[in-house]
């Protein structure tokens, strides 16, 4: 139900994208980040393991339905329905697995002291859905749209490199990958299955060696 200035949505009826319910985008929330995550089976990851070092968000999770087990840094937390988990430290690696079927977790986040704006992650996540469908051209267009808005985000560029490699466009892929590593990409391209067609390519090998040398230096 909706009217000028307000809208009501059910988490069950909202658009689900492989478990991601993109509430911020669907409702056009502009003051903070907010999403929900839904899984069908016990044992499924409901919050993928991640940190918030790139965007430095504080995050708050609420178990809306079901039961989850959070892992934060090295600690495991039992989180039945109604549990609120606040992660202050952006460096703390956090994730959650469903303990019960049909578990739903709401997440909210923003950076203290800064006006909220949507992060590059959202553009990447939307394009990632298309990537998982095997629709690499649409995925590439999504990553590119994100890159145009967030030109210093290496993840979007790296994923542009992966999708163009999957589309068989070697030179374009190398261009994106070079740009991603110039921005500090810290993944090993030689172990990425998306780049298997380029694994013996001397230019990719050189990029990988340079990236490894940089990691060792830091």
């Amino acid at each position: 139900m909706t009217a000028a200035g307000w809208r009501v949505v059910s988490l069950d009826e909202a658009e689900h994208r492989r478990g991601w319910i993109p509430l911020r985008e669907l409702l056009d929330v502009t003051a903070f980040g907010v999403n929900a995550w839904s899984v069908e089976n016990a044992g499924d990851p409901v919050i993928p393991a991640h940190d918030e070092l790139q965007v430095e968000h504080e995050e708050l999770y609420v178990v809306v339905r079901g039961h989850a087990r959070f892992t934060i840094a090295d600690d495991e937390l039992d989180a039945p329905q109604g549990t609120i988990v606040f992660v202050r430290d952006p460096a703390a690696r956090r994730g959650a697995v469903a303990v019960e079927a049909d578990t739903v977790v709401l997440s909210a986040g923003a950076k203290p002291g800064l006006a909220f704006s949507p992060s590059a992650w959202e553009w990447g996540a939307r394009a990632w859905q298309r990537y998982q469908d095997g629709d690499y051209e649409t995925a590439l267009a999504g990553f590119r749209e994100g890159h145009e808005r967030f030109p210093s985000d290496w993840v979007l560029l790296y994923n542009m490199g992966c999708t163009t490699a999957l589309l068989g466009r070697r030179d374009e892929a190398m261009e994106h990958l070079r740009a991603a590593y110039a921005l500090g990409a810290d993944v090993d391209p030689l172990t990425d299955d998306d780049l298997v067609s380029l694994r013996d390519d001397s230019e990719l090998v050189a990029i990988a060696r340079e990236a490894e040398a940089r990691r060792e230096r830091t």
Binding site: W6, L23, L27
Partner: protein, 215 residues
């Protein structure tokens, strides 16, 4: 279960403080408990079916965008006069701060989570938090504690007229008449509407005949 390491904190909604605000509405402070600094977040529980679970208000003063999630039970939200039944697991997003909103519980123990912030600006802690937090101390006549909570909030918002006015009320009740007059006068300087409130406020009865009382 409630641990407080520095990197993260966790609590069940039933473990949060429960402070009766008005009309059967229980405030369950989340932002204040965890010291969330990036956005506003609280939960509310209604004392009984048919009592408020979201206080009637607009956001015209703070200009906050709000998102409510019915975490338990169900509620009837009234948005600018239009009633909407909202079951568990549904959200109400209110982008327009001028919309008058209120919610009444339809089930026992209905609990609503509220998130808020002002688009385009860094989040600032709202002054009403300290006033709500001081309610238990005020009710038991612990004026020193009520004053401490207001002074703590005023350290961050020293020119907030409502906080200054409330502080003056607590100080008048505590017999600290000079402090009460100073803070009341400053409140009225910042917002003259507080002079009108002061004329009839019983909290200020002990200083109303003092010289310098803003009439």
């Amino acid at each position: 279960m409630s641990v407080r390491p520095s990197a993260y904190e966790v609590a069940h909604v039933d473990e949060l403080d429960s402070i009766l605000v008005a009309h059967g509405l229980q405030w369950r402070p989340i932002r204040r408990r965890f010291d969330v600094r990036a956005f506003g977040v609280n939960a509310y529980t209604s004392e009984a079916v048919g009592t408020q679970v979201v206080e009637e208000h607009t956001e015209s003063q703070l200009q906050h965008e709000e998102l409510y999630l019915v975490l338990r039970g169900s509620a009837t939200f009234t948005l600018d006069g239009e009633d909407v039944e909202v079951p568990t697991g549904s959200l109400v997003h209110i982008s327009d701060p001028e919309i008058r909103r209120v919610a009444v519980s339809r089930d026992p123990d209905t609990t609503v989570l509220a998130l808020g912030g002002k688009p385009g600006e860094p989040y600032e802690v709202s002054a009403w938090e300290a006033m709500f937090a001081a309610l238990p101390a005020t009710r038991r006549g612990d004026w020193d504690e009520a004053i401490r909570l207001h002074e703590e909030a005023l350290e961050k918002r020293p020119e907030h007229p409502a906080l200054l006015y409330n502080l003056a009320c607590m100080e008048a009740r505590a017999g600290r008449h000079v402090d009460a007059l100073v803070h009341l006068r400053r409140s009225v300087e910042l917002d003259p509407k507080y002079a009108g409130f002061a004329r009839t406020d019983t909290d200020l009865a002990s200083i109303r005949r003092e010289p310098g009382f803003p009439a």
